[in-house]
Subunit: 365 residues, 2 copies
Amino acid sequence: VTAAGGPARRSPVRWDGTAIEIVDQARLPATLEYLRLETVDAAVDAIRRLAVRGAPAIGGCGALAMVLGIDSALSNETDLSLPEAREIVAALAGRIVMARPTAVNLSWAVRRVAGAAAGAGSIADIHELALAEALRVIEEDREACRRIGEIGRAELAGRSTLLTHCNTGWLATLGWGTALGIVYAKAAAGEPVHVFACEARPLLQGARLTAWELIDAGIDVTLVADGAAAPLLASGRIDAVVVGADRIVANGDVANKIGTLGIAIAARRSGVPFYVVAPTSSFDPTLATGEGIVIEERPADEVRTWQGRLAAPAGVNVWNPAFDVTPAELVTAYITEVGVLHPPFDDLPTAPSPHEAARESAASL
Amino acid sequence: VTAAGGPARRSPVRWDGTAIEIVDQARLPATLEYLRLETVDAAVDAIRRLAVRGAPAIGGCGALAMVLGIDSALSNETDLSLPEAREIVAALAGRIVMARPTAVNLSWAVRRVAGAAAGAGSIADIHELALAEALRVIEEDREACRRIGEIGRAELAGRSTLLTHCNTGWLATLGWGTALGIVYAKAAAGEPVHVFACEARPLLQGARLTAWELIDAGIDVTLVADGAAAPLLASGRIDAVVVGADRIVANGDVANKIGTLGIAIAARRSGVPFYVVAPTSSFDPTLATGEGIVIEERPADEVRTWQGRLAAPAGVNVWNPAFDVTPAELVTAYITEVGVLHPPFDDLPTAPSPHEAARESAASL
């Protein structure tokens, strides 16, 4: 299956009526193809091995995985009580949330679907309510991306040369992107924009995905090794840094792709503004500071190898955190779909956090 | 040919009587083998494509390339005058120096051999004097490494966990290394030492070479992606950063492998001492500040690919500087074979710079 249309019309995660379709990101930049995920196990595995990645996209995939799981667990069970069915849904939520611990959007989206399902008056309603909520999560993220792009375009007016890290475009979200959404918004408005993209070792999402997305959209992009970010910032050529987020906590500390902290420190030294660009679903007000964020450590072979080819002694020790935490003091501002924010984030909804509830479901299993 | 013995006895560049032997670094970490270079062209090509790398090792290879060139140009020429022969030697020096512009050791070593040859009273003496000087350059670097290791061991007493970048061990020098020489000296003295090694994209010298060297020597090493350096430094686990240098100018600004600047900035923020470790042959007093350093830009495919495998869209623009410049203010001290230095480097020999002379030879061609 080959997708058509610009970045605003594409999605790495979509519902085909009975299964999840995801972009097979392992085949990029060579070809753009979709894979079908027909079971919860397949969806959890796709999230865990990063076939689906990017905090908002993981959220969307998790929401649809809830639908798959509900279909499979409840569709042929005629003698289940409603409380029993609710327990199955809660257990399912916990199982999906544990696929990746750092991106808060996953627990947020899964909890939304679980919450909608919990409102069902009959077992037959559970599926319908869950599917409707999952599709709403996806539609809302699409709209959030659009608004982030416009709000970011206003905030970064006149700043045409941007440095970014990892991938935050349509391949990482359910719309046209977060940090790259600003780039797409600038391009759509006919404004000049040139992106420097860090390659983002170990998994090279910048090289494989961001460079591909931008070339595909006809936008100027220059790829650099991660180590080149500091001298690039020192050179005066960069007007602003824009990155995404996997989790933003109450004081503004940000978990994002490994390498983000070094870029933020170098940007500060060079006087270049550093923006975190994310939907409000990436905010986690239940944690006071970044110290509380669980940082996922990934397999050593991601660093030992390069596209499956060994680049280091086979048994060498590796420290491979997937994320780092950038302290709030290095962040110029947070660009979201509700505006340009600064901590404390009083503009965010203050309802009891769905993340906490989802974590509790997970912990209770 | 397989080398034997510990790091103190090995060399990536050696003279076998008629040709240069170099470690085939492209085959590491899989196997350790030597290649023979029998012509100046082969030696220049080896330097240019980084088959020989590391500032001191490049210097040694350049010195021996002078010997190969002199042999080839003068050995069968019986009707050359001495001034004609000297002109040939000067042209040869210029040609070799241009193989890589940033590492100052190359011009320094080549100029030493050219200078020794210029003192010959007959054409027959030229070869002998050049060979003797080239071997002296190599022996002096071996001794400089040994002294750097001991001086560094004293300076870093009690600091056992070190972060390093790229490769500065026996594969990069003519002795046991510069920054890694300190590690080897600590290990040889029975002191605890644990190295965190950045992989050093794009060419992964940290993964391919440093990790291999340290495992081979029985020293604890943990490999990290370059982007993990900043959070590692912030974690408090690193006692000091030790890196090499390709050129250190009069005010202390340092050109070194791309990625060094970002590590230095992050180390300063985390209060971790940052040491530059290099022989005095890496100092270039003819340049006042780092702004004057020519930064070599390398082919785009080094970033787009690894071992021939594409990780980015084939035609994507790339900015691939081989080096960056770390300002002196971020450097705690410079560990050399003549002691622990701080700018201005009054302890260095103040004789007219050989680099300048070599550059002039090159420019006159």
